[in-house]
Each structure stands twice: as C-alpha cells, then as structure tokens.
C-alpha cells in the first residue's frame, strides 16, 4: 500500500483486510492518520489530546500480533475515544476545567475491551462539557468545527468523535449518547452513529451525566464498521450493575442487503413544526428507497406522547446530573479552590470549575428535585417516561423498526443558538425520546441539503440492534452517501 496517500480514508473493514494480507502495517496506517491529524486539526479541532507516542507503540504491538496470526477485526486500527471515557494514564477531561488535569487510574470497560481487540488510540475527543450540549460549543477548551462547513457546528455532545471520523482523523470513534449525543452529531457529520439499547454496553468508566439515559456506542464511516465495533464493546460487565446479562450475537450476520418482509413505521410526530423542508424531502426520499428494497412502510404511525418528551427529558436528565455532579467537591480529584472555609472552598470550586451549560443544568435539576417541586416535576416526568415507553412497546408489536429524521435541521452556524438554551435543546427533539425509552437508535447518512448532511434515524425495540443494522446496511448498499468525504 506504499504510495497511497489516502490510507486515512479507509474503513475498519478495508484496513483490516489489508493488514491481514500484509499489504499494510498498522504503523504505516497509524502514521498516515497522525499525519492527517497534523494537517487538518487546525481547522476541525476534534481532539482534546492527541496521543502520538502511545499510538505508535500500540501500532507496533498490533503488527506483532498480526504477524502471529492473532488479529481481531479491530487490531491495529486507529480510533478516537470521547474524552468522558476513562483511559489509564491519559488525562480524561470531559472538556471541563473541573477535570482538566484528571488522569484516571483505570480504564473504562469499553477501553479495556478495545485494547484487548488491539486498538490503536490516537487521542481523546472534544465534547460539550460533561456531555451537556448539542453543538460542541460548550467545550471549556475550544469549539469543534463541522468538516463539511467549518463555519457550522458538528453537533454534540460527541462532536469531536463525529468530526474526527468525517475528517478521517480517526478510522472510527466511540461516543456516548444521553439524549442524542451520538446520533445528532453523526447526522451533522454524515457518518454512522449508533446508540445501543440501555444496558447493552457497559458504562463502567464513563464519567456519569444521567445514569438512566447514558449509553456508549460506535461512530463509524459505514454500517459494517458499526457492527464490528459493537461486536467488540457489547456485553455484560459485572462492574456495571445496569449492564444486561444477555448473549451478544455476531452483528456482522445482520448485514443483509434486502428488506423483504420487513415492516417499517413512520411516526408522524417526528416531522415536527420547525423542521426544515430540505430535511423532510430527503427523509421522504429515503423512506421510498426503503420501500423499493422490499420493506412495507406505514406512514401513519402515531406516538402521541412524543410532544411531552422534551420537557420530561429536561427534568430527568438535569435531575440525575445534579446528583452525579455532586461528587465534584475539590477534595479527591479535579479542580480545587483554596477558599476561606470548607463550604466556601466547595462553593467556589464548583462555581469556578463548571461552565455555563453545566451550571444551568445543575440549577435546573436541583430546582426540580427541591422540596415542593419534586412531585410536580420529577415524579411527573418519570410517569410521562412510562407513557412514552409504552407507546414504543405497542408500536414494536406491529413494526420491525421505525424511521424518523435524526435532527429537524442541517448543521447550524457556530454561535447561532448559544444565546437561547431552549432553542439548543430543540435540536435533540427527534433523538431524546429514544433515551427516555431506553431503546436502540442508529443515524445513517441520507443525503445533503444545499451541501449539508442529513441523517435518517432507525429505531428498534430493546436489543434489536441486529434489525437496525440490517435496515441501515440495505439502505447503505443502495446509496452512495457514505462514500462522500468533505474537502478539507
């Protein structure tokens, strides 16, 4: 493969074949990706930390392993990990001043599993602080730019992981998704992003935001790669009491290029007011394409509680966040303000260490849980959560999967929504009901509106990741969107 200057554009599957046939070494591939990072990172800003030397060392180890004939599909493949997953000896900041110098003493389970599979980690990905945001503008360090249009946001909170894959600064990445943080940036950057079923992937070592909603998942250049990464990270973990003990299938077996006999539904509530006409047209065309591939489509599905999802989410998620973020007291790790007394030190540590969006959500969550409001807000939201879940359960008795847009808009301009939090929250209107219900969702490139990416979201019942991959794969094989790369 020497002389090929675009090794960084390879998918996992393509690179694996070349590595296994000894046409390419992991060191060559890793150097090509690190070189790509040095060329485009000034424009895209996907990374918080680039790990040059450890990456080259992992690449050498991978090459030795490949030589022994002991390679997994991920062995020797360069990846980026979102900076809220703990990496032993490598700082894990959550893009927050609070954790700017935090170096974890252990690996997240997903990192441990990818290491066992032979990952080459090229760095840690930028994000909205503590994963709270939809644009990456809430990173305490720098905003990430969308590789398709550098004046626009990459989405969030996994904006760095999404932009790095779109810009070929990593062959794949891991993101986390609490209300759309994998799928919305995948849509904005024209890549695949999958949030698995709650409990499918261990959260051990993922810095907690909202514990009943958070889930880790793959962000990749195509559907085959998503299946390969999910194969490596899914499964029970005794260190996460909410991980589910259930066999992990070989997800590559779901990559079947037709949809004969598959029943799809389109919930009309996801075609919301404020949805861009360009997005609507592209999703309509994508649904027609799914029909041509053999699926039957019901366009009149109704999930009436959808309109309450935004309010329920923005009560539940901040309430859980305020409890999870109570641990940042400046004593055990993280930013610490000296202060005049114990209380002063704690209040100033939190006041200076957290950025504006994190503070806003802590205040909102504290309010929702405070005396006199707990039943009216928090318990009410949890009851609405039950209704939303029940509607999905009913729908999945009739349909194998549901199809929606991932986001009502194309990527917006940097600075366009930072002044109005509610406007920013609406960016996740199509993705957050899925976290409320705990079901799996996948975003796949479905086209471009005036040159800007549009993603289609595929939803399934709990643990129906195979169905999502099948629908996505069939669509991908019939389209060319995933082969397009931004000009940088």
């Amino acid at each position: 493969m020497k002389g090929n200057d675009k090794l960084y554009d390879l998918t996992i599957n393509q690179a694996h074949k070349l590595l296994n046939n000894r046409e390419l070494s992991s060191v060559e591939l890793t150097k090509a990706v690190l070189e790509r990072i040095s060329q485009v990172e000034d424009k895209v800003h996907s990374f918080v930390t680039v790990t040059n030397d450890p990456a080259l060392q992992q690449a050498q180890e991978a090459d030795a392993r490949i030589k022994k004939g002991d390679a997994s599909p991920l062995t020797g493949i360069p990846a980026l990990i979102k900076d809220n997953m703990c990496t032993r000896g490598i700082r894990t900041t959550c893009s927050s001043h609070m954790l700017e110098n935090f170096v974890p003493p252990y690996n997240a389970t997903v990192v441990e599993r990818l290491n066992q599979a032979g990952m080459v980690m090229v760095g840690k990905g930028n994000m909205d602080e503590f994963a709270m945001g939809s644009s990456n503008e809430h990173s305490a360090f720098h905003a990430t730019c969308n590789p398709w249009d550098l004046e626009r946001v990459p989405g969030g909170s996994s904006g760095g992981p999404a932009a790095s894959v779109a810009a070929s600064e990593a062959i794949y990445s891991l993101g986390s998704d609490t209300g759309g943080s994998i799928r919305q940036p995948a849509s904005f950057c024209s890549i695949i992003g999958m949030k698995p079923t709650y409990g499918r992937v261990s959260r051990f070592g993922l810095v907690a935001f909202a514990s009943s909603l958070d889930q880790i998942g793959p962000m990749t250049k195509d559907v085959t790669d998503a299946a390969l990464v999910l194969n490596a990270i899914a499964g029970y973990d005794a260190k996460d009491s909410t991980s589910v003990d259930r066999p992990v299938p070989d997800y590559t077996k779901s990559l079947i290029p037709d949809l004969k006999g598959i029943k799809l539904g389109v919930p009309k509530e996801y075609f919301v007011a404020g949805m861009e006409e360009g997005v609507r047209k592209i999703i309509d065309a994508a649904i027609t394409r799914l029909e041509q591939l053999g699926a039957s489509v019901d366009r009149e599905v109704s999930l009436p509680s959808t309109k309450y999802a935004l309010a329920a989410y923005y009560i539940i998620a901040p309430s859980e966040a305020m409890a999870n973020l109570a641990r940042y007291d400046g004593v055990k790790y993280g930013y610490s303000y000296e202060g005049d007394s114990m209380w002063d030190a704690m209040e100033q540590t939190r006041g200076h260490g957290f950025g504006p969006e994190v503070k806003r959500r802590i205040i909102l969550g504290t309010y929702a849980l405070s005396a006199g409001y707990y039943d009216a807000y928090y318990v009410k939201a949890q009851k609405v959560r039950t209704l939303i879940r029940r509607e999905f359960d009913e729908a999945f008795k009739r349909y194998d999967a549901l199809i929606t847009p991932t986001s009502p808009t194309v990527p917006f301009k940097i600075g366009e929504k930072t002044g109005d939090p509610l406007k920013m929250y609406l960016s996740d209107i199509c993705t957050l009901p899925i976290n409320i219900a705990g079901i799996p969702g996948l975003s796949i490139p479905a086209g471009f509106s005036d040159g800007l990416p549009v993603g289609m979201q595929i939803l399934g019942k709990p643990f129906a990741e195979e169905m999502l991959l099948r629908v996505a794969y069939a669509y991908e094989q019939a389209t060319e969107w995933h082969k397009q790369r931004p000009n940088l």
Binding site: N101, F102, P105, Y106, Y198, G199, S212, S241, T242, V244, S305, Y308, L310, A311, A312, Y314, M322, G330, V331, K332, Y333, G334, G339, S341, M342, W343, M346, E347, Q348, R350, G351, H352, P356, K359, R360, I362, I363, L364, T366, Y367, S370, A376, Y377, V379, K380, A381, Q382, K383, V384, R385, T386, L387, R389, P421, L422, I436, A437, G438, I439, P462
Partner: protein, 97 residues
C-alpha cells in the same frame, strides 16, 4: 413560572455552587422560560401510571463479596489536590467556637 432572584440564590445554596450576580440574573430569566415550557406536562393524565426510574427492570443487584487486588494507594491519591500522610487533606468541617 417566574423565578425570583431569591429562588435562584436558594437553589445555588442547595447545590453548593457559587454564582456571580450576572449568572443569577441570566439563569433567573432562562429558567423561568424553560419552566414555562415544562407546564405542558401538567396536561398529561398520569392517573395510575407508575413512574419509570430505569428503562430496564432492575431490582437490587448484588455480587459475591470476593477478595481481589485493589489499586495502590499512590494511584488513588495521585489526583488529590491536597494530601498528607497518605490521606486526602480536607478543610475542617467543624470550626472552633
């Protein structure tokens, strides 16, 4: 739902997080607006609907209490802002009268 300045200060005291005057005013306006939008939940009839805390059914999850190697003390203290004699150093909780 119009929040007062005192409301915001009360909440900030509950979560032990200092806010500047400018933040108090900004959050007062933004949260009032957000809470107005949340009023929509009061339209939903949730009579006899149980709350959902987790999307999967969970009862008490326990494991066997097995002895296993732990992290070295130095690893755990490595990120401590202040330490002394192998321990985290904290501010006095009870001040001298």
């Amino acid at each position: 739902m119009k929040l007062s300045r005192e409301d915001v200060l009360h909440i900030s005291a509950l979560c032990r997080m200092n806010l500047t005057d400018e933040e108090v005013e900004r959050f007062r306006n933004q949260l009032s607006n957000i809470l107005d939008n949340f009023e929509i939940l009061q339209q939903v009839d949730t009579t006899d609907i149980p709350p959902t805390a987790y999307p999967i059914p969970l009862s008490n999850v326990t494991r066997d209490d097995e002895v296993a190697p732990s992290y070295p003390q130095s690893d755990i203290l490595a990120n401590a802002p202040r330490q002394e004699d192998g321990q985290f150093r904290v501010r006095a909780v009870l001040e001298q009268p």
